[in-house]
Each structure stands twice: as structure tokens, then as C-alpha cells.
């Protein structure tokens, strides 16, 4: 069993109004010094077998096809130990 994590974020050039709303709320709660907040998604993919190169290639394909919309989002795949 292995867990592979896929982080999906809006591309830097895409405005993130949800992150902005969070960013605007922080000073009201007394948190200072925050310059920017961006909000994304985290997927935890549990694999039956080990996270070898073949399995990771498959997870990347999942990310490309379904988990992320590469028109507006970018993704990062990593193995969680």
C-alpha cells in the first residue's frame, strides 16, 4: 500500500477569488503580515501496490485527465511516506 498525493492549484496567472476572500478575512482575525493566499485541492490516492514508476505514471495520467483541468490548473504528484 502506498499513498500518492496530488496537489492541484490554479495557475499563477488565474485570479483566485476564494483565496483573496480568505486573505481579506485574515487581518480581521488579527493575523498580520500575510501577503497573499491561494486555495487549492489535495487528493490522496491510495494504491494497492507500491508507488513505483508505473504507478506514478498512472497517477499523473489521472491528474491530467480528471483531477486537474490543465487549462486553468497545475498539479504536482508526490509520494507520501
Amino acid at each position: 500500500m502506498a499513498r500518492v498525493v496530488v496537489d492541484v492549484m490554479l495557475k499563477p496567472e488565474i485570479l483566485d477569488p476564494q483565496g483573496q476572500a480568505v486573505n481579506r478575512a485574515l487581518p480581521r482575525l488579527g493575523f498580520d503580515g500575510v501577503v497573499d493566499v491561494r486555495q487549492g485541492k489535495r487528493f490522496e490516492v491510495e494504491l494497492e501496490g507500491p508507488a513505483d514508476e508505473a504507478a506514478l505514471a498512472q497517477v499523473r495520467e489521472m491528474a491530467e485527465k480528471l483531477l486537474a483541468n490543465t487549462v486553468i490548473e497545475e498539479y504536482r504528484v508526490r509520494v507520501e511516506n
Binding site: I14, P17, A21, L66, L67, N69, V71, I72
Partner: protein, 228 residues
């Protein structure tokens, strides 16, 4: 023989009944299509209606795009079948890559629900030929993720090829270049965020009017298919 317009119902679709009604009002035969049924039942055109297919899980339209019916719609659209995606249907068409770009959360994060003024920009599609270029129309909008986004190159291409079909006069959601709707290169696939199917009758259309500015989307299709 009457023109048969199919309307797809996904789990979470809301505006299928209005879209079927619009088909009936213009004299077509409405045909209900089901997301799990891969058959298009020989329809002459397909409408992907508004709503929240699959609860907007993952991204609006992302799950619907892989439903059995969409495999058939995508294949048929590539062969020239007229397809109109309204609101969530537009989102599904973008997720399907039948149309470029994406619909993301509205600027300001608010759900926008009101009548909007549009300017028709292209009449050379299956769904807009009954308008005139530059015509101003009033059609309701209701979405939380209706902001059209695409890279500059794609936007330039859409403009250069005359594929922007309508623009907002008063951009309600931050859409790039005020874009409310676009078409594919062939003109058979059109997606737009406002809801023409909610502006087809005096009783239920925008008040105080004009109430029926959405009708030409449907009459355009009918004329094209009858003349074909």
C-alpha cells in the same frame, strides 16, 4: 418530419424541463436523454442544460464530461451535430474540450442571479443565425462559476475567428473580454452562460421585458435543420 431536439438530464440538472419546453415552443419534438444512456436516439441536435451536474463535485462539469451520454455527444459533435451548452452545459463543453477555455469562480465570489444585457457578436453558428450582429438582448444569468477564462492566445484566436457569439454589456462575473458565449470553429457547438431557455415566453421571461429574447437560439437551429 419534425426536428428532434435532445436534452440531457444528469443527476443535479435543473433546467432540462425548461430546455425541453423551449424545444416544444418553437415547434420541435423534445426528446429527453439520460446521462447513463449512451444512445442519442437519433436526435438532430442536443442541448446540455443548466444546473449542478454531479453536484459540481471536483469542478463544474468535470464528472458529467465522462458520463456515457457525453461520449456519444462528443463523438457526434465532432461530426457536426449541433450542440448547445447552457450554463452548466457550457462548463461541460469546456471540460470536454469541445470548446476552449474554462469557467471559473465569479470575480467577487458571489453567485449572480439576474437579467443581463448581451450584445450578439456572431450569427454564423447553428444557434445564432436568427439574430443580427450587434443586436442587444436581455437574458437571465444564474451562476457562481461563470467567469470565462482562457490564455491570451486562445482569446485572440476566438476573436480573430469570430467565435465569440455574445458579450456582456455590463460584465457580471469578470469574464475575460466580457465573453458570455463562444462557438467551436465549425459553428455547430455553442456554449453560453446566460439562459435563453428562460427567456422564451411573455409570462415567464425577463420582466418588464423584452421577455422572449432567448427564442432565436432555438428558432435559428430549426431553420438551419429544415433548410439543410
Amino acid at each position: 418530419m419534425s426536428v428532434r431536439i435532445g436534452v440531457v438530464t444528469f443527476p443535479g440538472t435543473q433546467d432540462d424541463t425548461d430546455a425541453l419546453r423551449a424545444a416544444r415552443v418553437v415547434g420541435a419534438e423534445p426528446v429527453a436523454l439520460w446521462h447513463r444512456d449512451p444512445s442519442l436516439h437519433g436526435v438532430d441536435a442536443v442541448i446540455l442544460p443548466g444546473g449542478f451536474s454531479y453536484g459540481d463535485y471536483l469542478r463544474a462539469g468535470a464528472i458529467a464530461r465522462f458520463s456515457p451520454v457525453m461520449e456519444a455527444v462528443i463523438a457526434a459533435a465532432r461530426e457536426g451535430l449541433p450542440v448547445l451548452g447552457i450554463c452548466n452545459g457550457f462548463q461541460i463543453l469546456c471540460e470536454s474540450h469541445l470548446l476552449p477555455g474554462a469557467l471559473i469562480r465569479n470575480a467577487g465570489t458571489l453567485f449572480v442571479n439576474r437579467d443581463v444585457k448581451l450584445r450578439v457578436e456572431s450569427t454564423s453558428t447553428a444557434w445564432t443565425s436568427d439574430y443580427s450582429v450587434g443586436q442587444q438582448i436581455v437574458i437571465p444569468i444564474k451562476n457562481g462559476e461563470g467567469k470565462f477564462a482562457a490564455d491570451e492566445k486562445t482569446l485572440d484566436e476566438l476573436e480573430a475567428e469570430g467565435r465569440v457569439i455574445a458579450r456582456y454589456l455590463d460584465n457580471p462575473n469578470g469574464s475575460a473580454r466580457d465573453i458570455a458565449g463562444i462557438a467551436n470553429a465549425a459553428g455547430n457547438v455553442v456554449g453560453l452562460m446566460p439562459h435563453p431557455e428562460h427567456a422564451i415566453e411573455e409570462l415567464t421571461g425577463p420582466y418588464p421585458g423584452p421577455a422572449t429574447d432567448g427564442l432565436p437560439f432555438f428558432t435559428s437551429l430549426l431553420k438551419q435543420l429544415v433548410n439543410a
